[in-house]
Symmetry: C2
Subunit: 348 residues, 2 copies
């Protein structure tokens, strides 16, 4: 198995990140339900009543989860950390079953089992994180021709999507906004990994904050995350969360793995069997999430997330549009008719 100490740390961090994010949705939903019961009214009218304690708690849990995910990238390869983001939907599905009494469908259980089986395969075959000793090392990786070609292509494609396709068919084709998010997301994860590694080295006594490269990566993180969140919100405002989430997950995770394989050469020195197993594991996790999405009410689909940089929809919504937007998504999630309708659409 060759599971290194650092990979284990990254794995545990990614896992606990998913647990926090998954749990945050349950707490939020429970708070909203309690508020609804107190007011005896429909979602729309009690939104203002969700007390600040619940709200603060949820925000803190989400932040803890995102920080754990951020740190995970400093220890383990993106090929390992990114696909594990899907486990947050299992956590929220299982917790919803026990705490909110939302019956988990038989196929939903199967979806969870698949996500776990696929994640185990990914974890077993994940490559070892290469030891990095300075931010300059990351800089040289980021400026190698192959990765510059990737970055160049991404920037060109994102510009085409933003300026040509977004005005034309952004509101009719779900791939436009999610595509922009996913392309930017792959770059944010790479820069998050650079910043995370720099911080890790700094904490170990090898100060990396003196180098301009570190601050350049911080600037890239900020730019990418803001663009990504902006278009993620547009996607969520235009399309149903249950449609956006799986598409976003597959595009974001695939592109991040591609970027990581080019930049960090994750697959160099791995045998063909391991690489194929990893890809199969990823396909299985993806299939599991789709099965889970198709069979559960879509309320929990907003807990779908990929990485620190992508930020889970509610937090990103809150950061961009303020409290009202954060609530908007919650309210949307509480309409059972729409959920059932969507479920049927998928079924037939």
């Amino acid at each position: 198995m060759g599971f290194s100490q650092d990979n284990l740390k990254g794995f545990v961090l990614a896992l606990s990140s998913s647990a926090f994010i998954g749990a945050s949705f349950i707490i939020k939903k429970k708070g909203l339900r309690r508020a609804a019961a107190a007011s005896g009214a429909r979602a729309g009218s009690y939104i203002g009543q969700l007390n600040n304690i619940s709200f603060c708690m949820v925000s803190h849990i989400v932040i803890v989860g995102e920080v754990a995910n951020f740190v995970a990238y400093a220890f383990a390869p993106a090929v390992l950390v990114t696909p594990l983001g899907a486990l947050s939907i299992i956590v929220s599905a299982v917790l919803a079953h026990f705490i909110l009494n939302e019956k988990l469908h038989q196929l939903g259980i199967l979806g969870c089992v698949m996500c776990i089986a696929g994640s185990i395969v990914i974890v077993i075959h994940a490559p070892q994180e290469r030891p990095i000793t300075s931010v300059q090392e990351i800089w040289s990786m980021a400026t190698q021709p192959a990765f510059l070609l990737y970055v160049g292509s991404v920037i060109v494609l994102v510009f085409i999507l933003i300026f040509h396709f977004a005005p034309q068919c952004g509101h009719s084709n779900v791939l436009v906004f999610t595509g922009i998010c996913s392309f930017m997301g792959s770059l944010s994860v790479m820069s998050v990994k650079a910043v995370g590694t720099a911080l890790k080295l700094t904490f170990e006594g090898n100060n990396q904050l003196l180098y301009p490269e570190t601050w350049f990566f911080v600037f890239i993180v900020a730019t990418c995350v803001i663009t990504q969140m902006n278009y993620l919100n547009k996607a969520l405002d235009t399309f149903n969360t249950a449609v956006v989430s799986p598409i976003y997950y597959v595009m974001f995770t695939s592109l991040t793995i591609l970027a990581s394989v080019i930049m960090f050469k994750d697959w160099d020195g791995q045998n063909v069997g391991s690489i194929i197993s990893e890809i199969c594991g990823f396909i299985v996790v993806l299939s599991g999430t789709i099965v889970l999405h198709t069979t559960r009410e879509f309320e929990r689909s907003s807990s779908f997330r990929g990485s620190y940089a992508s930020l889970s929809p509610p937090l990103s919504a809150r950061l961009c549009n303020g409290n009202g937007e954060f609530m908007k998504h919650e309210e949307e999630n509480l309409l059972p008719d729409e959920a059932v309708f969507f479920q049927r659409q998928e079924m037939h």
Copy 2:
């Protein structure tokens, strides 16, 4: 990957076996449809009209498929060959989509993708077949204490199931008849493997037919297969094929893997990662088949099969109950209302 020549042969044989079995169902169904169109009547009345040419063709294809599966066991470990039996439902699902115009549901496609991904993981991590030079070697494996304990437990359990549970709840609990089939199935695969290896050695010039052990294994194959087919028919007569098939598949495959691991020590010398990957692969294939079963009409579920010894339901039905029974299953499969009803039952 360490994929040996013999494993490759076994893999190709298992694959083509699945292709033949899967295709046979499509040809049969097409023949029945043509007969139905010619008579312009409902399934019940045109059953006698399925022409003998179609019938012979189907029988031959099934026999070729079963022989390929039989030979596969002589080359590759049961841990590799048995789970690949599930691929026959993919073949029949895909062929039905293109030839019979039976629309494959989106989740059904996902089920196929999962089966393929899981099978790839299994194939990559399958252990190498140990070289066996005589039937006595297999005999000593079969008489080792651990395997004798397994055989003893299986016989006791099968007797309890047949004489205690079958009269009491055989017609109300699906696990009784399928349990008997699965336990006996694991023993038939082990003896089929012994006979297959003996034949392989004989063809290589090392005659094994002189030894009584070979004939003992032949006797065991016959006994197990007859018992197994008898109770498989009882299970299919009592319960819906779509209920029996996945349960039978998981029990039969799990017990066969267990028996093979005990008798042939398939997992000795494999690292923990490979074994866990194999188990995950098996879980994924299983999940994929359930998803496919849940979403497709159950007509093709009778194409579900495990091994040579288990024989696919129609052939076994034909062998045991004659032509009429063979047609009975086909007729049952043509009732769309029941299929839709069943599908709904699973969905909600």
